[in-house]
Amino acid sequence: MRSKLTPVLLLIAVILLAAFPFVGEKFYIQLIAKVMIMAIFAMSLDLLVGYTGLVSLGHAAFFGLAGYVLAKAAPQYAAANLWTTLALALVACAIFALLTGFLVLRTSGIYFIMVTLAFSQMLFFVFHDTPFGGGSDGMYIYAKPEMKIGETALLDLEDFKVLYWFTLGLMTLVYLFLRQVLDSNFGRALIGIKTNEHRLRALGFPTFRYKLASYMLSGTLAGLAGYIAALQFGFVNPEILSWHVSGSVLMMVILGGMGSLHGAVLGAFVFILLQEILSNQSWFGPIAKHWQLAMGIFVIIVALLLPQGLVGLGSTFRKKHKASGGHG
């Protein structure tokens, strides 16, 4: 749960992040931008997992789909229109969520986990096997989309600093938007579904519709993250739909603390930075090639010891102290 301190801390974080490009190197600016993209991705999944109680292992489907829409919609060597391509990507994700939602949301629990994974694998094979998406070689996005009104360019996304601030702005907007949604009637109903769906239905809520709406919103926001990721990276291939991506983002949500939006952001930061550190060959030498081993062990430890995630560390710590104090 959020304390009074949280909004202040978050504001400080945003200010620090905004100031970073003035002092940091290009590599790190792009890295933090990547982290912020993943933070949006993680928040979108947290809406589904942490607040609606639906554990999806197939969220990469939306992330990758949006990237591919941009790659397909962008002209070969000219810059695409950001407004139209982004709208197209988001609509594609919403439609995919709507269609698959009707099939997957009739289930729950472990079955839901399996069927969401299966659908994202299906999409993986669509882009991997068919010529539609350039096959396993993927597709390039040679020019960053333009953000124009009429003939005036609003932002030059070719500039990596501008792209960084653009991403920071979007991440902040998504955070504030989700905060508001979770505070609304709709959000309270979602939390009710996670807590006791059976009772909520008995009270008169058509929970299927709420779950479908949550799934669509979550998928669309994941698509937003995927769009910017493709924009930043300039390249899409079927690997962005892989279940490793789905597993990683789920890991970020749990690591940070489910049911806590800033936890999802924190989880994304820690996970990506950890990944960067572990795979850094200049620090760890040749064993850095096998960084997934350390990452796997880390994931196992988190699963065993940190049910509340990082944001819950404070309360877990306090509880342990209380317990020992009581017996003292």
């Binding site: 399996m114 299906m122 094979f125 096997d129 597993g247 796997g296 699963a303 065993l304």
Partner: protein
């Protein structure tokens, strides 16, 4: 496309389906009885396959490799159950998913360290390397028939174990009422370890006998795991008959898909899944 060709594809589809059923049975057994979703189930399949390759090379005998490899993998599985899994029995499925996802990463990386990233073939044991002639020009490998035979045999043995023995009775009781079983003095911890060992053995054995036909390669564990998931989705959670039917359907769809529409072969299984879900949202059979 003549009769012999179709027959070959049917036999291939059957073999693939039965193998899937064997591996998927291990997964649903552990899930149905212990309530554990084990994503690393595919990793045990992979470990079995790689052990088949390396042990067969060292011992110069495929049979010896299987006889040694399965118990080795089972011991590994039981060790993991005692060390890690037992702490998750009462936790949300989410944490099991996470923990076993971490295990997948660990196993894949260990495989890379120990055995490298190349694709390796495993020789069919000499005794079973012949073929049965079907026409003047076409014949069918005996080994593939042996795989199908073994899978059917094991499935039958599994059925007999669960339905007809005391152990099977305890297993079935333990799945519906854990406390009662404990109150009756049955060691539920031992029971769970046994069931888990059984699940691992099925996966490892599946990987081993499949190795001569499918080779050993990185990511093979994840691949089979995801298809096992599709088996459960199509067949319905908790239904063994559903898993059998789903496995055969997937085996046929995949095999004929590769032959008729090679460009869309990877998707054929998922298209089947979509069709089934449109008709039956919870799979073909639900646990009553």
């Amino acid at each position: 496309m003549d009769f012999a060709f179709v027959l070959i594809q049917l036999l291939n589809g059957l073999q693939y389906g039965l193998l899937l059923f064997l591996v998927a049975s291990g997964l649903t057994l552990v899930f149905g009885i212990m309530g554990i979703v084990n994503l690393a189930h595919g990793s045990f399949y992979m470990i079995g396959a790689y052990l088949a390759w390396s042990l067969a090379g060292m011992l110069d005998s495929f049979a010896a490799a299987v006889l040694l490899g399965v118990p080795l993998t089972v011991i590994l599985g039981m060790g993991l159950e005692r060390l890690l899994f037992q702490y998750l029995y009462h936790r949300d499925h989410l944490y099991q998913v996470l923990l076993t996802y971490g295990l997948i990463l660990v196993f894949e990386e260990l495989r890379s360290v120990l055995w490298g990233d190349d694709v390796h073939g495993v020789a069919v044991p000499a005794l079973l390397s012949g073929s049965i002639p079907l026409t003047d020009t076409l014949s069918y490998p005996i080994y593939r028939l042996v795989i199908s035979g073994f899978c059917l045999l094991l499935a039958g043995a599994l059925y007999g174990l669960i339905q007809k023995t005391r152990l099977g009775m305890m297993i079935r009781a333990g799945s519906s009422n854990r406390e009662m079983v404990q109150a009756l003095g049955i060691n539920i911890k031992m029971l769970y370890t046994l069931v888990f060992a059984l699940g691992v053995a099925l996966a490892a054995f599946g990987g081993m006998i499949a190795a001569p036909v499918s080779s050993v390669y990185p990511n093979m564990g994840a691949q089979v795991l995801i298809i096992c998931f599709v088996v459960v989705v199509i067949g319905g959670i908790g239904s063994v008959w559903g898993a059998l039917l789903a496995s055969i359907l997937i085996g046929m769809t995949d095999t004929f898909g590769k032959v008729l529409l090679p460009e869309y072969a990877g998707m054929s299984t998922y298209l089947l899944m979509v069709l089934v879900l449109l008709w039956r949202p919870e799979g073909l059979f639900k646990r009553g």
